[in-house]
């Protein structure tokens, strides 16, 4: 009996916390269904409007350029993430399985980038990009993203590569693999779980990055989702309902990615840290 009461209490507490955690999203949903007039007519947030304003969603996409931002986010992520992983894998391979000197020192050199504040290189990057005319180009943005991603990528891949038995290298050598083939034909395929985790985390990291994107990209038609959403805040023409509808729409792709790949976040991340 006591166990039963405990269990009931446990679930009540759990659902209460979960409900509190949901209030921000609830607010956005309720707001997205209303027109500006509904707010000023004196009805409270919790009352549904007499007419649900689905057109807010249409408006958000049209006026808010949401699909443009999402498309740009996809382009940038799909350029940055695979290239970044390739660059990181090459380096991690060198410091785990090749005859390179000062491996730990090299590793630490890359690790620093993971923890340095991006602000420290922002002004020089801005000056450099002005000279090279890389502002408002995805080449510039992705190049910088890859640079800032190397630390984390090498950390994850190095941990995984280290766990692969060395005998494999010998066997591959006897079978006539050169070093590059050892990496592409043997090490990388074995490392699929680590690469998948890195891909997902990196993809969302790139999709959500704001500071660097706001410095390098200022043309509306080139903006990614966070910088695009930021212009929502500034635009007085867009009302609360439309803004909230836009937010809900931009949650959807991330939610889908999360639902499909959630085990990579929940299990992969902790694995990466332990290795």
């Amino acid at each position: 009996m006591k166990k039963r009461i405990n269990k009931v209490f446990f679930y009540v507490a759990l659902f209460a916390i979960a409900a509190i955690w949901f209030t921000p999203i609830l607010t956005i949903i309720l707001t997205s269904l209303k027109s500006q007039a509904d707010f000023f007519s004196g009805s409270t947030l919790f009352q549904l409007p007499t007419k649900i304003h689905w057109e807010n969603f249409v408006e958000a996409v049209k006026v808010g350029n949401l699909f443009t931002y999402m498309r740009n986010g996809l382009i940038v992520s799909f350029i940055k993430v695979p290239l970044g992983i390739l660059v990181e894998a090459l380096a991690a391979f060198a410091i785990t399985r090749l005859s390179v000197k000062y491996k730990t020192a090299i590793f630490i050199y890359f690790l620093f980038g993971m923890m340095l504040p991006m602000q420290i290189s922002l002004v020089p990057i801005n000056i450099m990009f002005k000279h090279l005319q890389l502002h408002n180009t995805y080449l510039g943005l992705c190049y910088a993203y890859i640079a800032f991603g190397t630390g984390f990528g090498i950390l994850v891949l190095r941990g995984f590569f280290n766990a692969i038995p060395r005998e494999i290298d010998e066997a591959a050598k006897i079978d006539g693999c050169n070093k590059f083939q050892l990496l592409t034909k043997i090490i990388l395929p074995i490392s699929k779980p680590a690469i998948a985790t890195l891909f997902i985390i990196d993809f969302l990291g790139t999709w959500n990055e704001f500071l660097l994107a706001s410095v390098i990209i200022n043309k509306t038609n080139l903006k990614t989702v966070p910088t695009g959403l930021m212009s929502f805040i500034g635009e007085y023409t867009i009302n609360y309902g439309v803004m909230s509808a836009g937010v809900l729409i931009s949650i959807i792709p991330v939610l889908l990615v999360f639902l499909f790949f959630q085990r990579y976040f929940v299990e992969g991340l902790s694995g990466a840290v332990k290795q």
């Binding site: 380096a91 620093f112 704001f210 959403l229």
Partner: protein, 289 residues
């Protein structure tokens, strides 16, 4: 022959080295150099020595507010974010139906863009139509309503709550991973010896999870030092500069007012504070395997 193969081994490092060095390392040193000048990016640089730094610490009130806010943020993170993350991790370390759903549920906000989270929480705090004030009116606690992020006294704390909502899932997952590596026998033994849950937690669980704590504390302090997006999205540093952080103030000085020397000096201060935290952490990470 052997030497040649060695050289080709280093080639694998070249792409990462070139890209990383050109964007992260060289600019870092160039920033150190620029911070010694008065410069708007167009006119010639004027060497001023350490004046940018002394100005910041002795005559720039906003800088001191920003510095203080970062320290407050670190303290809030270490107390609230860590406590809630640990609480949730302990909850999800139990076996119960729906466990993995709830675990993902609390983690999910961490995958969202912080700018998006900022817009969401602006709706929460809106004085007229926001959830919090509307809810307080609903339960007849009108006197507790506030202007929240428009009130300089509490704005920073309001933003922190939003950041906590967004990011608590990450330390939660790390704690959960740590909890799952604990040897079951030790916890059982503590129970047999009659230790209370409370006692077991502080005398057994916490010491055994030292490694996890180091990682969580280090990452939390590092991200507290970098706080930018959530402030930019919610208040932009206002009202009356009450929510400026080093990162937002650096951005304002360097990119809005074109004070490149002063802006980079703020970045250098951030860097030095981070190094003080990061070096022990890097050594620890590199060693632990």
């Amino acid at each position: 022959m052997k030497k040649k193969s060695n050289f080709s081994d280093y080639m694998f490092l070249v792409p990462a080295f070139v890209i990383y060095t050109s964007i992260v390392m060289i600019p870092t040193f160039y920033s150190l150099y620029v911070s010694l000048f008065k410069w708007n990016g167009i006119a010639p640089k004027v060497f001023v020595g350490l004046k940018n730094y002394t100005d910041l610490f002795f005559s720039d009130k906003i800088f001191l507010i920003a510095l203080k806010n970062n320290l407050i943020w670190i303290a809030l993170t270490l107390v609230f974010t860590m406590a809630i993350a640990m609480g949730l991790a302990l909850l999800f370390n139990k076996e119960f139906r729906g466990r993995s759903f709830f675990r993902s549920y609390f983690y999910f906000p961490y995958t969202l863009s912080i700018i998006l989270v900022a817009i969401v929480w602006r709706r929460m705090y809106d004085p007229s139509f926001g959830f919090i004030n509307e809810f307080l009116r609903l339960i007849n606690l009108e006197e507790l309503t506030n202007t929240w992020t428009a009130n300089p006294k509490i704005a920073l704390f309001c933003i922190f709550a939003a950041a906590l909502w967004q990011s608590v899932g990450q330390p939660m997952i790390l704690f959960l991973a740590g909890l799952q590596t604990l040897p079951k026998e030790v916890l059982e033994a503590a129970k047999v010896d009659g230790a209370s849950n409370f006692r077991t937690f502080f005398s057994v669980t916490v010491p055994l999870m030292k490694e996890t704590f180091v990682i969580v504390i280090a990452t939390q302090i590092i991200s507290s030092m970098k706080v930018y997006d959530i402030i930019k999205g919610m208040t932009g540093g206002g009202p009356a500069n009450s929510t400026q952080t080093l990162a937002t103030y650096m951005h304002a000085q360097a990119f809005l007012y074109d004070h490149l020397g002063k802006g980079t000096a703020i970045a250098v201060v951030m860097l030095l504070m981070m190094i003080a935290i990061v070096i022990p952490y890097v050594i620890y990470t590199a060693k632990s395997e």
